[in-house]
Amino acid sequence: MEDIKLIKGNEAVALGAIRGGCDGYFGYPITPQSEVLETLMELRPWETTGMVVLQAESEVASINMVYGGAACGKRVMTSSSSPGVSLMTEGISYLAGAELPCLIVNVQRGGPGLGTIQPSQSDYFQAVKGGGHGDYHMIVLAPASVQEMYDHVFDGFDLAFRYRVPVMMLADGIIGQMMEKVVMTRQRPRWTAEEIAEMSDSWATTGKHSGRERNVATSLELDSQVMEQRNERLQARYRQIEEREVRFEEHGMDDAEYVMVAFGSSARIASETMEMARRDGMKVGLLRPVTLWPFPSKRIAELAAAGVKGILVPELNAGQMVEDVRLAVQGGSDKKIPVWHYGRLGGMVYSPDDIYSELKRRSDECAG
């Protein structure tokens, strides 16, 4: 029989970590994601899978613990919410620079500053454009359901190790706090020391044995020529990721005259907007990027070229992903179609009706 649980998104992250064979979680409490650490401490996975769980003294310490664990070739992760992730960005840059795999979960809340504890998607730029210093990218996954908060732990670790890059799961307070059914997968075992040696002996700091040179996890290189080569190697890997790992989901695209592009919780809300619009006979499609980086630019360009009349981008921020949609449209299509942003700020959340009103207003403008 299927193992189904009714749990919060944050609990799903914790269970996904345990079931996904995670070796270590290091975190610090912050609303609205504290249930991740709370659930792990309640479940005591160190007694079952051997997973280490540690409440750190700060997000700064958490991410540097992740850095240490990742350097050893272990599956390690942390989770936080917006202000805490800001504190982690230095460490994320180091992880990217030292080419270390890990998973970072951001259950976003509204900012700037201490902001609000209510849901928001205003860390999109921080997640996909950098956040920390230097030319780097994380693969960014945007779960839109509690099931995906569970599944993306597995996917996140797989991607992180495939490319030796940090992966961020960019959720928000809605997905983190809501409960839905989750189909639990079977326990994936943690890697043994032998498996880690087999996979990662060329870089993991597991203790230097006679069979190899010493491994050093570092992002430092004072010789600029060598540093440029390291950067070029990273960039080549990013191009490879852009080529292979774009993930998105789309609905109602066959006959769509208007398209909404939305991620995470906004995509859930917009999917109801789409149902409402279609009941009224309006031909609306929905594209949900699952990876925010790499971004489904090609597909968006195709839609623009195929004669879509306009694209509405609802997001819980002042207009962030809409820039990438505009770049995709302008860069990939000769047809100039309008791209509109619709947002709420500071923890306010729109309803499906709100988005629908905006969609009608924009399409009327277009028709008029």
Partner: protein, 258 residues
């Protein structure tokens, strides 16, 4: 009169640790880091821990420690070595894990990570090289800079009213229950070097025995930063540093007492 010397294992009185690499150290002539690196390498070698040790290097002059000791290394962000080492040790409890940090890294930007690793009683060793100045960035004031000492950011001498007081983090962490061993040593003379090596050995044994965190401070000179000759710097250290940063054991918890 000529003396015939037989070069053989039998007559060998000193050997370079096989764990020291052939890389030419970037440290200034007269710097203490080279000696401390050598002692760390010797202790790891003598304990047979080469393939079982992970070192964590700081940001500061010792950032390149990984070029000189032939073990696996992780280069940590500024001040975060103790957090990095915490995870390495927790995830690999059988490994020997140590950090090697300067006074800027450990006692300024890394104070929180240091104190909390100490407080959790992580089974690691912290090697803390205190020369009362930021060496790598060009001789700026550290939290450990003595009152009156001139640095690039206290060009008129450190004044308590402006800069606050130098502080002794070894004594601070000694009060924490997770810490089993705190000692303050130096390496300016052969006798001091021997004592420091003994202290490092004790610390490494504590970590492998799971007794908690061991904190080995080595009061050092920075002749470049202090703008002195190496000999003068050592003398200045003895006359000015030692009265404030007193050498000797600060805390020893004997294994039976734990």
């Amino acid at each position: 009169m000529s003396v015939q010397v037989e070069i053989s294992e039998r007559n060998k009185v000193y050997g370079r640790s096989p764990l020291l690499t052939d890389a030419v150290m970037h440290y200034c002539p007269g710097c203490s880091h080279g000696t401390i690196h050598k002692l760390v390498a010797e202790v790891i070698d003598e304990m047979g821990l080469q393939d079982n040790t992970v070192g964590v290097s700081p940001v500061g002059c010792a950032v390149f420690a990984y070029n000189y000791i032939d073990i696996d290394w992780i280069q940590a962000a500024h001040g975060r070595a103790c957090a990095v080492a915490t995870a390495v040790k927790r995830l690999n409890p059988e490994r020997m894990v140590f950090t090697y940090q300067g006074d800027g890294d450990l006692s300024a930007i890394g104070t929180a990570e240091t104190i909390h690793a100490c407080n959790r009683g992580e089974n690691i060793v912290v090697v803390y090289v205190n020369n009362a100045i930021y060496g790598m960035t060009g001789g700026q004031m550290a939290p450990t800079t003595l009152l009156g000492m001139k640095t690039a950011t206290s060009p008129h001498g450190r004044e308590a009213a402006i800069h606050g007081y130098p502080y002794k983090i070894a004594e601070m962490v000694a009060v924490l229950d997770g810490v089993c061993y705190v000692t303050r040593q130096s390496v300016q003379s052969p006798a001091a070097v021997r004592k420091t090596k003994k202290a490092l050995r004790q610390a490494f044994e504590n970590a492998m025995a799971g007794r908690g965190l061991s904190f080995v401070e080595v009061v050092s000179s920075c002749n470049s930063g202090w703008k002195m000759s190496p000999v003068d710097a050592n003398r200045w250290m003895e006359e000015n540093m030692f009265p404030f940063y007193r050498l000797g054991d600060v805390k020893v918890v004997t294994p039976t007492a734990i």
